[in-house]
Structures are given as structure tokens and as C-alpha cells.
């Protein structure tokens, strides 16, 4: 049971944003299904084994990947492990406070984690070194630097880019001993490119990639994850208002189109 800071928005702001959107317009002149400018840099942190800095509009997130050798989970003894963690740094927003992850941070990392895991982004079986004993564990740390709305999509995109940027040392087994060759770096075994699209329900419409201002007035949020063939791999509704089945099916349709375009920029 987590207490939330209350964010009070003037009724007039809410109305003006909603009226615009009901007319098919947005405060920053985007189309309802249009992303803000996206910038993506990889290899930005030398000490990380993979890294990415992603900006969607003014939202800015840095992701670093680190590998270490660990024991596999008992129920998946032949699989490597992916750990996704996020920090909503107090630098990123006056509403973020220092301390252990709150429910927003937990939701962010868990939804991104589900997208990557259920989307089958990494071939975890190839990260096994000795079955049941030693596997590679990949840590993804999502460091939120500047919060201007739509953290989910930025984090998922940045994580995918960081994974694609990651190189880990080769690990081989000789006479039962694990030999790590730090000279021989290999890419992570990537099977899929799963991505998220997030929509805000404002007024009667769904808008893609909500800005902070839009998030503050939205009634509900729906995030959809899809893989390359258009299958849905993750979904998460948020917010205190309901959605209809039609809205959800529409969100899936737009997500397919938009992630196809995003994915092209990743190669």
C-alpha cells in the first residue's frame, strides 16, 4: 500500500487540453497518433557493457547493461537471467523522491521486463554456461533523468537498444572450470525486437506518446507491446478510468504500425 503524492491540475488546463484533443488536435501540434522527436544514442557509457540514451521529446532516460555470472533460477536451470531495474531519479521530476522504488518505478520496470522477456528479445538459453550451475545474468538499469511523459516507451526502446549494443566476454568451460576471455567480446543472442507503445485516453480519444501535460489530465493509459510479426507480447492498463474493448483493439492496431517504423530505425 503506497501513498501517492497528489498532483492537482487546474480544471481549466484539463478542459483546454481535452477540448483540443476532442477536436483531433494537441497542444504541441502533433497528430493524435504521432510520436514526439526521438533521439537514440548507444555506447554512451564506456564502463557499461551496453548502454543507450534515449530522448522522446524532453523525456530522457539512460540505460546501462552489466553482465555477471550467477546461478540460474531453479525452475529454468538452462536459462540465463535478465534483471530489469528502474530508478525514477529525484532529478527527473519534483514529484520523484529519493528512496527505494515506489509503485510507479516498480510498474515501469516490470512492464518493460515483461515486454523484453515475453517478447523473447534475448535467447536466454544461449546465456547458459553450465546447466543448473552457472549462467550469465544481464542487469538492465533504467535511469530516468528527465521526466516529460511516456516513460514506458522510452524505457523499452532504450532497453532494446542497450541490449543490441551489449557485448559480453566469451565464457567457455574447460575441465569443469569456467574461462572468461575478456579479450573476446560477443554480442548478446538477440531473437526478437519487442517494443511498447503507450496511449492516453483523454476526452473521447486515445493519443499516442502522451506528454507530461497530457498524462496529468488523462483518465486512463494503455501500453501495448508487440513483436516483429505483430503478435501482442505485453499489455498494461493504468489510470482510474475504464477503457472499452474497441479502444484496446485500436491501440493494438496503431502499435503494430508504429513499432514497425521504430524498429526500422534500430538497425
Amino acid at each position: 500500500m503506497v501513498n501517492k503524492m497528489v498532483d492537482i491540475i487546474p480544471e481549466i488546463t484539463k478542459k483546454s487540453i481535452t477540448n483540443l484533443i476532442n477536436n483531433g488536435e494537441r497542444a504541441d501540434n502533433r497528430a493524435l497518433d504521432e510520436y514526439r522527436d526521438i533521439t537514440l544514442e548507444t555506447g554512451v557509457i564506456t564502463k557499461a557493457e551496453g548502454s543507450a540514451r534515449v530522448k522522446i521529446g524532453n523525456t530522457q532516460i539512460m540505460i546501462g547493461a552489466k553482465s555477471q555470472i550467477a546461478e540460474p533460477f531453479p525452475d529454468t536451470p538452462k536459462n540465463g537471467v535478465l534483471m530489469t531495474n528502474s530508478e525514477l531519479l529525484p532529478m527527473a521530476s519534483p514529484t520523484f523522491e529519493p528512496g527505494p522504488p515506489d509503485e510507479r518505478s516498480v510498474e515501469l520496470s516490470r512492464v518493460v521486463d515483461r515486454c523484453l522477456r515475453e517478447g523473447g528479445v534475448i535467447d536466454l538459453e544461449k546465456l547458459c554456461i553450465i546447466p543448473g550451475e552457472k549462467v550469465w545474468m544481464i542487469f538492465l538499469d533504467i535511469h530516468v533523468l528527465d521526466y516529460d511523459g511516456n516513460l514506458m516507451d522510452a524505457a523499452a526502446l532504450g532497453c532494446l537498444a542497450a541490449i543490441m549494443d551489449t557485448k559480453i566476454p566469451e565464457a567457455t568451460v574447460r575441465d569443469g572450470e569456467i574461462v572468461i576471455d575478456k579479450e573476446k567480446l560477443i554480442e548478446l543472442p538477440i531473437k526478437e525486437k519487442a517494443l511498447l507503445c503507450t496511449f492516453a485516453k483523454i476526452g473521447n480519444e486515445l493519443v499516442l506518446d502522451p506528454s507530461l501535460e497530457e498524462e496529468r489530465v488523462m483518465g486512463a493509459r494503455i501500453t501495448v507491446g508487440v513483436i516483429e510479426d505483430g503478435s501482442v507480447c505485453a499489455m498494461q492498463k493504468g489510470g482510474e478510468e475504464p477503457l472499452t474493448k474497441e479502444e484496446i483493439m485500436k491501440a493494438i492496431k496503431i502499435t503494430k504500425e508504429k513499432t514497425d517504423i521504430l524498429r526500422k530505425h534500430l538497425n
Binding site: 500500500m1 503506497v2 501513498n3 501517492k4 503524492m5 497528489v6 492537482i8 522504488p101 509503485e103 516498480v106 510498474e107 520496470s109 516490470r110 515483461r114 522477456r117 515475453e118 523473447g120 494503455i222 513483436i227 505483430g230 503478435s231 501482442v232 507480447c233 505485453a234 499489455m235 498494461q236 492498463k237 493504468g238 489510470g239 482510474e240 478510468e241 475504464p242 477503457l243 472499452t244 474493448k245 484496446i248 483493439m249 493494438i252 492496431k253 503494430k256
Partner: protein, 239 residues
């Protein structure tokens, strides 16, 4: 006071590991008003799941800066008893329960006339006493009954149910085994009067067509469970 419903099998279609038809729910029973101290409460058994819910409120939110000036706040705490799962679970919240607590609050809030109780909190405590796949839906379903038992004015009684994909079939209400080994899980909560969706999550792999089929199946399941919720209240309060 206790209703036991084993929903009969329909078509001779797909047979599942536990013998259920693809659109068949596990047996459910719900009992309202099972605790003394809480303002409202409900106990639910759903297959092997055993869930107890207590509701307190609307009551004053004692931390000023978390109050909402124009409405009440619904705060849920989803918690698993240490003995509810195969390997003892360490007490206290983990990341999974923090997330479920959040989305459960959001699943219940749309049904409540929150604006009637400014600066207040409605606290919903969901205890999973035994878990066998589908506890978040079981918790939401029981929580609605407990909120009604507490006399909280609601525009509808939220009900939840999952569908998913197992053994390449789209099926209703995954069992623990189907959840673990299955290909997709889609928990859904709705306000049955309007069919509006207050919770939806998904993980796994579903084509659009499968997704829509699973969603329809889940919505159908919700309708059935909704009747059992109502019966539980009738049993407690009469028609």
C-alpha cells in the same frame, strides 16, 4: 451462507489437463461479511485459490499531503500469506505485490463514487491465503463484494477473470499449471453493466485474433462470476 457453484461443462470441445472445457471456470464460492472488525469483508474460493478481503472506510486519510481535496482515494494492499505457496514466501511486499496492489486500486476505483468522500481513503486489504493461479482476479472479485458489504456506494461491482493460451488453445481461467507452462495470460476486470474494462494486463504471445478471442472469453467469464458476486450479497442481505 456459502454458495458453491461448479459451472457445468458446455460443448465437448477442447479438454484441458484438469478436464475443463475451454470456456469453463473453476468452481467458485463467495461469502460476504466474514470478519468482525472490518467495515466490509468477503471470502472467496476459486479453484484452489483462497482469498480473504477486508475493507475499511471511507475514513479520514491521516496523512494530509496524500489527501485528495475533491475525492476519496482507493488504496489496495495485495499480500500473500507465507504459507500460501509451495515454497514459504518471506513476509512483506515484493515487486510483484507492489504492482498488483497498484493495478488493483486502479481496477476498483472507477466503480466507486469517489467524489462523495473528499479527503478520505478506502482501504482494501487482500490476503491470499492459498494461491493456485489467478489470485489477482480472485482478489478484485472478492474486493468488490467486500466493498459492497462495507456499504460503499458504487456504480457497479467490478469483477475480474483471466483468459489465456495453453497447449495452443485459447482458454478461460488458467489453472496454476496452465499459467506456468502456458503461452499467454490475460487478466481482465470489468464493470459488467457497461462492459467497460478497468484492468487489463497481458504477457505471452497472442496474435490479434487470439487476443480478441481471449478478451471476449474473459469478458464472458466475468459475466458468470458477476452473478455469483450478486448471489453472495443476496445470501447475506436478502433480495
Amino acid at each position: 451462507m456459502i454458495i458453491i457453484i461448479t459451472l457445468g461443462k458446455k460443448e465437448g470441445s477442447v479438454k484441458r489437463a484438469d478436464g475443463r472445457a475451454f470456456d469453463e471456470l473453476r468452481p467458485i464460492k463467495i461469502e460476504a461479511g466474514v470478519l468482525e472488525r472490518a467495515d466490509g469483508s468477503a471470502y472467496l474460493e476459486f479453484g484452489g485459490n483462497k482469498v480473504l478481503v477486508a475493507v475499511y472506510g471511507p475514513r479520514e486519510f491521516h496523512i494530509r499531503r496524500f489527501q485528495k481535496p475533491d475525492q476519496a482515494v482507493v488504496r489496495c494492499r495485495y499480500n500473500m500469506a507465507p504459507f500460501s505457496v509451495d515454497d514459504r514466501k518471506r513476509p512483506g511486499p515484493d515487486r510483484r505485490s507492489v504492482e498488483i496492489s497498484k493495478i488493483t486500486s486502479e481496477a476498483l476505483a472507477p466503480a466507486v463514487f469517489l467524489e462523495k468522500y473528499p479527503r478520505s481513503t478506502i482501504d482494501v486489504f487482500i490476503e491470499v491465503l492459498e494461491a493456485e493461479g489467478g489470485t489477482r482476479c480472485a482478489g478484485i472479485t472478492a474486493a468488490s463484494v467486500a466493498m459492497a458489504d462495507a456499504g460503499i456506494p458504487m456504480r457497479d461491482m467490478v469483477v475480474a477473470c483471466a483468459a489465456g493460451k495453453a497447449d495452443d488453445n485459447v482458454v478461460l481461467d488458467l489453472s496454476e499449471k496452465e499459467d506456468k507452462e502456458g503461452q499467454a495470460d490475460l487478466p481482465v476486470a470489468v464493470m459488467p453493466r457497461t462492459g467497460e474494462i478497468t484492468l487489463i494486463q497481458m504477457d505471452g504471445n497472442l496474435s490479434s485474433e487470439e487476443f480478441e478471442k481471449a478478451l471476449d472469453l474473459a469478458l464472458e467469464g466475468c459475466k458468470k462470476i458477476s452473478e455469483i458476486q450478486k448471489d453472495a450479497l443476496k445470501t447475506r442481505y436478502g433480495e
